[in-house]
Amino acid sequence: MPLDRGNDTALPVIAQFEIRRRAYLSATGELTTPLPPFAVAPTALIPLYRAMTLLRTLDAKAVALQRTGRLGTYGVALGQEAVVIGTASAMEDRDVLFPTYRENGALLWRGVPVETILAYWSGDERGSAVTGHREDFPICITIGSQASHAAGVAYAFKLRQQARVALCCMGDGATSKGDIYEAMNMAALHKLPVVFLIDNNQWAISVPLKRQTATATLAQKAIASGMPGEQVDGNDIIAVHAGISDAIARARAGDGPTLIEAVTYRLGDHTTADDARRYRSDDDVKAHWQQEPIARLKRYLVAQGAWTKADEEALIATCQRQIDEGVERYFALPARPPASMFDHLYEQLPPSLQRQKDELERGLANG
């Protein structure tokens, strides 16, 4: 464990910092550390296992739809399911999620219907008019910009003395954006109830982490803002859930923000618009399949006698049905009239815009 001594070991030390790591399940599903209370009963982990499986089923289906021209660009969370579900499952309903395009599984967990998620990725604004948690932010595409939004939402919670938490998701690449740092500095300064999660899948499209930053960890970026930072094994859903839960508890108690780095690996392409073979070898990827979170948890559950082959077959069937039904509802979604692009621009459409709307409708009428 390297100790960055700064530049002159003769000088007196005026501040010291440490980054710690949380992990419970080994790649092969053995316990390496005593479990946190919530995870002691294996059955408590089954809903998480189900949700990870459902996400992987959705991802596979979405890619199939995209390949056959029935969906737009889509990014799978293959291999990252523990980060996505471990995080969402640590939140309460009243908390506010700031998802990126990797968090489709978190939307599912928080009650967004499959057809709504698919509508979004098909290029339909109704995909962000979610019925689930109405205060959750829409998926953030512009990397990093969500961090200050989360700080603003958390500020509102604090001002109104609501015991609510903003959970801001970002990738490893996002940590290079100044936005993140500005928001973390503000959040730490005002002890805002926000948790920053770095879903470190070690790639930003084609850029590997070692060409994104020189730091030994991403968790240490918290030190620049004065908030605690922690690394968790992002392929161990128990570690993710526990790390996020503790951070949320601190935020809710008024003890301020935390940065959690969850280390995982992007087993899939960046999105369906990407071909990862251009910039990384299949062998690297294969090696990381040994670490993936679903098989890991399954091994543990089976070893604990909490999961059987029959359970697995039933689960796969259920997930398949759930997704297929969602896809049917997605296909059945009526088209939006073109002029609806004006409908939610302002609370009331100004006259000049009304003229443009009429212009569009006239044009459609005339063929």
Binding site: S145, S148, H149, G152, A156, M186, D343, L345
Partner: protein, 326 residues
Amino acid sequence: MAELTLVEAVNLALARAMTDDPNVVVLGEDVGVNGGVFRATVGLQDRFGPGRVIDTPLAEALIGGMCVGMAAQGLKPVGEIQFMGFMYPCIDHLVNHASRLRTRTQGRITCPMVLRMPTGAGIRAPEHHSDSTEAMLAHIPGLRVVIPSSPARAYGLLLAAIRDPDPVVFLEPTRLYRSIKEDVTDDGQALPLDTAFILRQGRDVTLITWGAAVRETLAAADDLAKDGLTADVIDLATLKPYDEDAILASVRKTGRCVIVHEAARTGGFGAEIAACIAERGLMSLLAPIERVTGYDTVVPLPKLEQHYIPSTDRITSAARRACTYG
């Protein structure tokens, strides 16, 4: 009723809005203890507390982004950017988020925020303190861009901006902050947005302007009156969405039009007004449209800034050219 400067009127409107609505919060650099570098927020932190009047860290993108998050939660954030030249890091939040949140979520999440910023040259300030790039903002769908030209209009329009359910950029001409006084009644009466103010009624020429340039434009109207030429003087006040009908009605009457703004000419908002007339009022034009504007140069430092800002003389001679044309 009291004689107030424009910056005092801004302060009065902020205090009124914060009194009327506990959701209104003010945030920015030095807005708290110091009351803002122009004193626009003076006294607010004492009255409403540091929770609602927030000295932020030095980060404009943060201010813009926090306003989006606060507004999404139903607060009414009024962010202050210290000078327009420091606003550019906020544009990402204005274009990609504030102006789109309602559309993106089909009305589920809205963004009732106000971003205040001083604008324009003429106060002998250092580099980057004299920008008037309102045209960049007035191009953004979903946004409102408002700029007052007198203390009373500053009071009424700022109240309207804060009460508006959608995002508003509120530009405050530094050149007018203390140079004019006007009676302002603290009656909580907002003035209408999206509506131009007809400051003078005339027959011969239409002078269209906004912000600080209103002062020189009115002076030009006075000069023209000496030659027996009467002008409509239109203060656009809201640039986005703007009052096309007021412009077209006046041009239909006068047939001659001079557009005045301090910003650089090319791609300035005067171009939009000229385009509107060329599309919908062309046949009533008796003379070419004239634009009297800042030049397409970097705003000069104080030694030369007065040669950049449209002068009364430049406006008057453009209007004379328009009136004598053909």
